[in-house]
């Protein structure tokens, strides 16, 4: 394990979340449960898209993983295991984030696990120059570095995200929204973390800027091999950048599948409804309906399946029994869904039983060279084969 790995090593887990429950306020004080039994595993270099409406618990989940959740938010159950790579190399060590002491957390946060917060407009300190904010983290985590070294790294980071070095002395208000967001991303990547959590990183930006930043981010991901948890309410964006997509509703994961599977063959009525909420850019215009009703309040959660009041397929059992995440009946993929329509107990409507796409295409932003070593040109492939 001495050789430095270039590019993502898929397969090895970097984060394991199991049965995580998060409440706001304690039950005896009339608290509400914001996140219930969330379980997922994130592998190195993977982009997990977390989609859901406001109040679905996606940001709460994001803040709980690095233990940044503030009171009255309380983690009331479950495990968060982070696989930390030791500084000198060697096999990674599992760290239980929920029991870790302050020192352990301080050595993980930003070093191995960083975060790009929602709305860069407010996340940067308005009265400090970009340089100071970028080098701050280096001062804390690279105590041996000289100021010149820190500045050099700050310049390198800015250039990495496409900002010229002369902006180092700028104040946040002198930068455009897109540039501020780039600074936030550069900051998150300062110590080359293994995992970056991004909470709605491009929501406040214009579509052109958003596209540029996403492209840059995916390029950096290829080069540096970090994993990403990308949180957004914009499912159409996730479909273009995520490897895996998890759909959250009322604090629960209701479906998890590869991006291709989810867009081509959604299995949960809510996922299907979300997909049908985005008008198409091309093709015949047709009337779309979205999803009737509104997401439930955390204080008045319906019994059984939390989606049943808005679900057109709701049956008798949905009113009382809460479905668990399981592989859909008849699917051979690793995808999971929490819906009684998919467990074989009821006939599945045809639109929710589309066959899984045969091949799960890699994320569309991934450059062929950086994926598995498979040359895109077949002739070239032959030559290589002949030579060996």
């Amino acid at each position: 394990m001495t050789a430095v790995q270039a590019g993502p090593v898929l397969g090895e887990p970097v984060l394991e979340v199991s049965k995580l429950c998060i409440d706001y306020g304690l039950p005896e004080d009339g608290g509400v449960r914001a996140v219930t039994d969330v379980t997922f595993t994130l592998r190195r270099g993977e982009v997990l898209g977390l989609a859901g409406e406001s109040g679905s618990g996606k940001s709460t989940l994001a803040y709980a993983i690095p233990r940044l959740l503030r009171a009255p938010g309380v983690i009331t159950g479950g495990d968060v295991i982070f696989h930390q790579r030791p500084v000198g190399g060697g096999p990674s060590q599992a760290v239980d984030m929920l029991t870790a002491d302050a020192e352990t957390l301080a050595n993980i946060r930003w070093v191995d696990l960083s975060m790009v917060f929602q709305s860069a407009m407010h996340a940067l300190n308005p009265v400090a120059r970009i340089e100071g904010q970028l080098t701050d983290v280096l001062r804390r985590h690279r105590p041996g570095w000289s100021p010149a070294q820190r500045k050099e790294r700050a310049v390198e980071l800015l250039q990495m995200v496409g900002i010229s070095a002369d902006r180092l002395r700028a104040f946040p208000h002198e930068l455009s929204g897109g540039m501020r967001q780039r600074v936030m991303i550069a900051m998150a990547l300062a110590l080359e973390p293994a995992l970056v959590i991004m909470d709605e990183p491009t929501t406040a930006l214009d579509v052109v800027t958003q596209r540029e930043i996403i492209e840059e981010l995916m390029e950096l991901r290829e080069r540096l091999g970090f994993a990403v948890i990308f949180i957004t309410h914009d499912l159409s964006l996730l479909l273009e950048l995520a490897d895996t997509i998890a759909i959250m509703y009322a604090g629960r994961l209701v479906e998890m599948a590869t991006a291709t599977e989810l867009v081509r063959a959604p299995r949960h009525p809510y996922s299907q409804g979300l997909l049908n909420s985005f008008p198409a850019l091309h093709g015949a215009k047709k009337r779309m309906v979205g999803i009737p009703g509104a997401p439930p309040s955390l204080r008045a959660m319906p019994a059984g399946c939390k989606f049943h009041p808005r679900c057109v397929h709701a049956g008798e059992s949905c009113l009382s029994v809460e479905p668990r995440l399981a592989r859909p009946n008849g699917s051979f993929s690793a995808r999971t869904v929490a819906c009684t329509l998919q467990d074989g107990s009821r006939p599945t409507p045809a639109e929710l039983a589309l066959p899984d796409p045969a091949e799960t295409a890699p994320s569309r932003f991934r450059t062929p060279a950086a994926a598995v070593p498979a040359p895109s040109d077949p002739n070239q492939n032959l030559t290589v084969g002949d030579l060996s």
Binding site: S54, G177, D206, V207, T209, F278, L281, R287, R364
Partner: protein
């Protein structure tokens, strides 16, 4: 794509954007310009020379990035801010400047704001919000007033209306609040509804419900609707005509599907390629990076030229006129001018 009646540059007649319909449009703006002073004699050129006609029973979408002047245009149309130059015509008649005329105008042209969480007063009930315009603009009182409130709430699918009238904004979801804001707008039986990003603050799954409500109002109330948005896909879904704005000017306008299927202006093409599209199989190619220019010192000639991959010599010097590029479709771009055809072909061939 060229047209023999294209006038020579510099003497271009005013092009009126918006859906083409017979008769007098409900609201028409001629040569609207707004410059905001920012001190030291400088001005922000927020909206420049825009002529737009909104016929009844149509939806016109104004699409653009933030800072393109689309919200300023909507506010100019409400009469809330005074234009630097240009005039407004309601049913073909110029809008007067007296207090009485302006009050009559506000009952005919209503604005629905972006954020339903701040456009409603949390201290008052839903019923109060809808009664206000009725009391101010009509003589309906008493039981008749209550009945009218319920009827309006029912019309925006907040039923039972009586129950909703007693609620307070904090008891409603974002979509429901936006429906209250729309019902408030409908109370005075307006001719024109201006909606400034009405769904961008709402959850994805309830956006379509509100868009469909606008769609229904177009037919049922014969409203002329202006839909201001940054989301070109929703503009295509709802609107008859799309008007694309960049840096305070209209760069392209035409029937909605024509704009999204065959965009002619490089900026419209850039916007479309940047929009998320689940149907796309590979990453789109972005032509024209960077961000919109400062509107204090806008670029000379075409304001898009510093970002435009097709920029020619003329683009830096002269602002392009709106040139016809299809049925009812116009684009303000030199690439479509017959005089510059040879050069335009050469530039396009290089890319």
């Amino acid at each position: 794509m060229t047209d023999s009646v294209t006038p020579p540059a510099g003497t271009a007649p005013t092009v009126v954007h918006g859906p083409k319909r017979e008769g007098t449009p409900a609201l028409e703006a001629r040569g609207l310009t707004k410059h905001f002073p920012v001190g030291r004699g400088k001005v922000v050129h927020a909206v420049e020379e825009i002529s737009i006609a909104l016929p009844e029973a149509t939806v016109t979408a104004v699409v653009g990035e933030s800072g393109s002047g689309k919200s300023t245009l909507a506010r100019l149309l409400t009469g809330l801010i005074k234009p630097t130059s240009g005039e407004l015509l309601l049913d073909g008649k110029p809008v007067g400047t007296s207090a009485k005329a302006l009050r009559a105008y506000t009952s005919d042209v209503h604005l629905v704001l972006q954020d339903p969480f701040s456009s409603l007063n949390s201290a008052h009930s839903v019923g109060y919000h809808i009664e206000r315009p009725l009391k101010l603009h009509s003589d309906v009182r008493g039981a008749e007033l209550d009945a009218k409130v319920v009827e309006l709430l029912d019309r925006v699918s907040l039923s039972p209306g009586a129950e909703f009238a007693a609620k307070y904004p904090h008891e409603l979801s974002g979509g429901q609040r936006q429906r209250v804001a729309i019902a408030r707008g409908l109370a005075v039986r307006p001719r024109v509804l201006l909606a400034d990003e009405p769904v961008s603050m709402l959850d994805v799954s309830i956006r379509l419900g509100v868009l469909n409500l606008f769609d229904g109002l177009r037919e049922d109330e014969r409203l002329a609707i202006l839909y201001v948005t940054h989301d070109i896909a929703s503009a295509r879904y709802l609107a008859d005509t799309i008007v694309v704005m960049y840096a305070g000017q209209v760069v392209e306008s035409g029937p909605a599907e024509q704009i999204t299927d065959a965009p002619q202006h490089p900026y419209t093409q850039l916007l479309l390629s940047a929009a998320p599209d689940p149907a796309r199989d590979q990453a789109p190619e972005l032509r024209g990076s960077g961000s919109p220019p400062s509107l204090v010192n806008p670029p000379s000639g075409c304001r898009f030229h510093p970002r435009c991959p097709f920029a020619m010599a003329v683009c830096k010097e002269q602002a392009p006129p709106s040139l016809p590029v299809g049925t009812d479709q116009v684009a303000a771009c030199w690439l479509h001018s017959p005089e510059h055809k040879a050069e335009a072909d050469a530039v396009s061939a290089q890319i």
